[in-house]
């Protein structure tokens, strides 16, 4: 599946979102300007979930705020929103209709299904232009966010030959802490699901034009503010306004594992603690959210 040559400006949700039933989707040659929620692409595939499910995104220009204001210059009423340039992609068992006709699947980037094993996200030659860490209205404004519905698995995101032009240091990303609201018996159990704290943005061959953040380098990584992990990686530096760390260590990675027992959907093994010997690491990991896809509400 391939989608190309599309432009979007000041959209309320994502400027672009796809949820194709495929093994590989290629998104290319698009431009997005000053949108509320960043663009992304998903794949729905359960039957082939143990193969690579590749989301490949090439040659996209993502601009920050435009000169056109969100609010009337005379101080009149308007809604204020956080903004982002792109959000994390996902691969799941179940997707949603091409044309959403019910309220439950909204917003478009809402995920209501178990993640597929083989998710792989590769971004080639993306350009991010003119991004400050706050909007002119004082709201958060970041190049990258984790999808706010991604409770279960945000595959490692591999960026190649990315160009940042006038992107301020704190505008790179904001990685949210898993919301306490997920910690209930119908969703994640006793503590929130942990996907947002267990993902990586890995950049190679990167160029910074204009603003030069302290972490500017050809190869670097952005990882969540995971209290049981991030502070114990020697090269990683915390950025409070990003709620994340930047690192220069190619050996960061993701270990994924699952039960293959017949009772995998019924029996809990969590919390599971991942502890690296010789360090203070103790990463508390939860299982997936208990998704219900009944077209009415998510249990």
């Amino acid at each position: 599946m391939e989608i190309s040559d599309f432009k979007a400006y000041k959209t309320y949700y994502t400027p672009f979102f796809s949820y194709g039933a495929t093994k590989k989707i290629v998104i290319k040659r698009m431009s997005f300007i000053d949108n509320r929620v960043g663009f992304t692409a998903n794949i729905v595939n359960k039957d082939e979930e143990y193969e690579d499910l590749l989301i490949e995104i090439n040659d996209i220009k993502i601009f920050g705020e435009s000169q056109s204001p969100d609010c009337p210059p005379n101080g009149g009423f308007c809604h204020l929103y956080h903004k982002s340039g792109m959000i994390s992609p996902s691969t799941t068992w179940v997707g949603k209709a091409m044309h959403i006709s019910m309220m439950s699947p909204l917003p478009p980037h809402k995920i209501k299904s178990i993640s597929s094993w083989g998710g792989k996200a590769v971004f080639n030659r993306l350009q991010f232009i003119n991004w400050n860490a706050t909007t002119t209205q004082g709201m958060l404004n970041h190049v990258f966010n984790i999808n706010s519905y991604q409770s279960d698995y945000a595959p490692m995101m591999e960026f190649h030959d990315t160009v940042f032009t006038n992107v301020s240091a704190d505008a790179m990303a904001y990685i949210y802490d898993p919301p306490q609201g997920w910690a209930n018996v119908k969703d994640c159990g006793n503590f929130p699901c942990t996907a947002p704290q267990n993902t990586i943005l890995s950049f190679k061959g990167t160029t910074f034009n204009g603003a030069q953040p302290s972490y500017a380098a050809s190869n670097f990584q952005v990882i969540p503010n995971n209290p049981g992990f991030s502070q114990y990686v020697p090269s990683c530096v915390k950025h409070e306004k990003m709620n994340a760390y930047t690192c220069q260590d190619d050996r960061l990675g993701m270990l994924i594992f699952e039960s293959e027992d017949d009772d995998t959907m019924d029996r809990s093994m969590q919390p599971i603690y991942s502890k690296k010997q010789g360090t203070g690491m103790s990463n508390k990991v939860n299982s997936f959210m208990d998704h219900v896809w009944d077209g009415f509400y998510s249990g």
């Binding site: 969540p224 050996r251 990675g253 699952e258 027992d261 093994m269 599971i272 603690y273 991942s274 010997q277």
Partner: protein, 221 residues
Amino acid sequence: MFPVIVHATDASVYDLEFTGSPAKKMRFKLISQDAGSKMTIRIKYPSAESRAIVKDGSIIEMNAWNETQRGYGAVMQTTCGENRYIGVTNILEFYITAGCELFIQPRDAIQTMVRMEWTMNEFFDNGGTTSFIDKVAGSLGIHASTIKVVGVYTGSVVVDYSIEPDKNLSQSASDLQAIKDKQTKAYATGNMSLGAPLLDVKVKITENKTKAPTNENGTAI
């Protein structure tokens, strides 16, 4: 599925501590942009059940038993899937590299725990595990290669061992019951000569009967 961020440097060793009982059968994969990423994973189990590491559909046998260390040889991070079982503490230890996918699965086996009136030094001075395996094989009339010592520990001397189907004889899990019955009879009638008085014996059969890993066509591998 459990996604976990890791720092997979050379010689890194991770303990995965499950607060619930670990699944019998599990699938693992390490993902990194650096092909050199690697780590040893250790999982502590509540019991000494016989387990195997499977890669590309084939069991990767544990490192060789080391009589000096009185256990299986340490994981040296040589090839993906290298593994060993640490007796007494019941820890399965295996090595995984970037892009490599591994499975843990139960083995079809007769699990036996035998306690003998011996000291550890007497056990190892009398041939250790090699001699022990030969004696069990001789008493049951089975090939020594089907017997694996899982662990040896004090109390007086306790040996956990497993007997697996003999692939050279095309045996399967269904053949284990007959061997188990024969072993039970041998212990009961005093025909199992292990070199020291027996104090206790416990036997059970484990089976790889959970859902099998499947390939892209849904066929068990």
